[in-house]
Symmetry: C2
Subunit: 337 residues, 2 copies
């Protein structure tokens, strides 16, 4: 098959991430011969622009993947659980952005800058990690290679877009209501997000952690291949539209000078390192680009071999769409497409 | 002197914290015989309501403290550096909310629930800690008493009001501008705060930490009397009007069950413990009251004897005004007034 003629499906094409997937496929000139946008019946029939051509979103069905080379899924875990195995059984490679298969044995969980080697396997399904996990491991990777991770503590500042397009609308509507002294409605978030921080993302598990926090713990271990790496996460939604940020305290087995850490981050693939403290990155810097921004690097004075820093990335792009397309590029580069 | 006839000055009476100080003096029925509101020349002449009576704000001068029993200062460090020693030399007790004297040897730095004993001293000047430090030590105190603190890591979610009334206006104006596609102006904050998080509070020091982060490290040690306690802090401004929150990872010398920690927090003075994960506290819960709210308590799976939790408090009240008035109450109770 010529790579120029790839048939690429996007499942959840009308969602916040699906739309970015289509943007990123175009921007990065992925060799799409035919784009097949798929969505639920509710959204099917809408049209979207693909390189100057108007194409119609089709309803996702059991036969949607006939002739499809690779499908990028971002329509939630239950859709992936039902349709990814159907696609894979028919020979379609699947890059799945949901949590459905991330922790499944034999399914690689991949951030190309970190563990592209995991794609050398038989699995037709490749899992795309959680948006916050992606930026965390991209920033930690060069430091881990140099000094070996020992413990990671993270607190996040995550944007509304991580909960989808309707959640972004809810933040805007709540903000307007508050500024106009009108009643505030909550639907997607458990509490008012406008002008407040919500220390809950996804549901609570029996140990008091949220599912999002579990993802950041277990996915980090799987991606680094460190089954027992001590990780703790507190995930917090903040009233920001796009761009997740996090405060990371990382402890290493071996010492590293601040200069060494700065050099490693400055040279790292996928990282834009902000060395000047006053040039710290914020969500507005990250929105719309594919980089993981790292700044506020300091020696952690509370522990030997510790660093503390701040990261920001566009959760819809590097945190989801871009990473999925990078996985597709890596599969293509390896001859799996 | 009868405590019913105390002459109480508030320096910075027209500021966000000064106004709360006057509210809290009234609410807590502090025995004020005469209130002396003081401010800069710019704000002097304004009137304010004190228990049904209209009183005029006077200009702060060298002679403002004649006959004043106790003065609560909240007008910035340079005002305190100039006028607190003048007041103290004249026999006035000073409770100072600025950073001016917090780390000065011999000046007690007090959170009454934690170290009221430090008030048993000669110093006429008592320092009120940084707003974030106060809620942190109130939450840590019962746990420290039971299991002895070994290391503390904190990431904060601090509101605009910590930077004063004009900063709150700036957040509101920026938000309105963004929602109306108008140009956004920044003045008090180094970057746009509306719909973003800013990982900078106060100026940067040579080690890359901000002054606010240094306060949280050094003030915590002084309050607990643990000169070498390992502490790391990352302080972040979020687009919230009132109420600071923080994510705290605390490690202890001795083991503690989750049940024990919950019981200790539930019984602790000044703490409202939110045991049900779904009942996590947010800034909206804290604004306007004097409690330190603690929730999301979990065993930290990344370390032995570790706990991780979330706290929220009104930074203008328990983080500033209420704590200052509580210090005044403690001084009164000890017969120092």
């Amino acid at each position: 098959m010529s790579s120029e003629s790839l048939v690429v499906a996007v499942v959840g094409a009308t969602g916040a991430v699906g739309e970015e997937m289509i943007n990123v496929l175009s921007e990065r000139r992925f060799p799409v011969g035919q784009l097949v946008p798929l969505a639920s019946e509710r959204s099917a029939g809408r049209t979207l622009d693909w390189q100057g051509e108007e194409i119609t979103v089709k309803t996702l069905t059991d036969t949607s993947f006939d002739g499809v080379d690779i499908a990028l899924f971002s329509a939630g875990a239950s859709i992936s659980e039902t349709f990814a195995p159907i696609a894979a059984a028919g020979g379609t490679l699947v890059v799945d952005n949901s949590r459905a298969f991330r922790m499944t044995d034999g399914v690689p969980l991949v951030v190309p800058e970190v563990n592209a080697d995991a794609l050398k396997c038989e699995s037709k399904i490749i899992a795309n990690p959680n948006c916050s996990t992606i930026q965390k491991v991209v920033a930690l990777k060069p430091l881990h290679d140099a000094a070996k991770l020992k413990r990671v503590i993270v607190s996040t500042y995550q944007s509304a877009s991580g909960a989808g397009r309707d959640a972004m609308d809810e933040l805007r509507e709540q903000t307007v209501s508050l500024l106009n002294f009108r009643e505030v409605k909550t639907k997607h978030f458990s509490r008012r997000l406008a002008f407040d921080s919500i220390p809950q993302i996804d549901q609570f598990e029996s140990d008091g952690f949220t599912r999002e926090e579990h993802k950041m713990i277990f996915e980090t271990r799987k991606i680094f291949g460190l089954d027992d790496l001590p990780v703790c996460a507190t995930c917090v939604r903040v009233p920001v539209f796009v761009g997740h940020a996090m405060s990371i305290n990382a402890e290493f087995e071996r010492p590293m000078t601040l200069e060494d850490a700065a050099r490693l981050l400055g040279d790292a693939e996928g990282v834009v390192f902000h060395e000047d403290p006053n040039d710290f990155p914020v969500a507005a810097d990250a929105a719309g680009n594919d980089d993981v921004h790292v700044g506020r690097l300091r020696l952690d004075p509370s522990i030997d071999n510790g660093l503390v820093f701040w990261t920001v990335a566009d959760n819809l792009r590097k945190g989801a769409a871009t990473n999925a397309v990078q996985i597709a590029e890596a599969l293509l580069g390896m001859g799996r497409l």
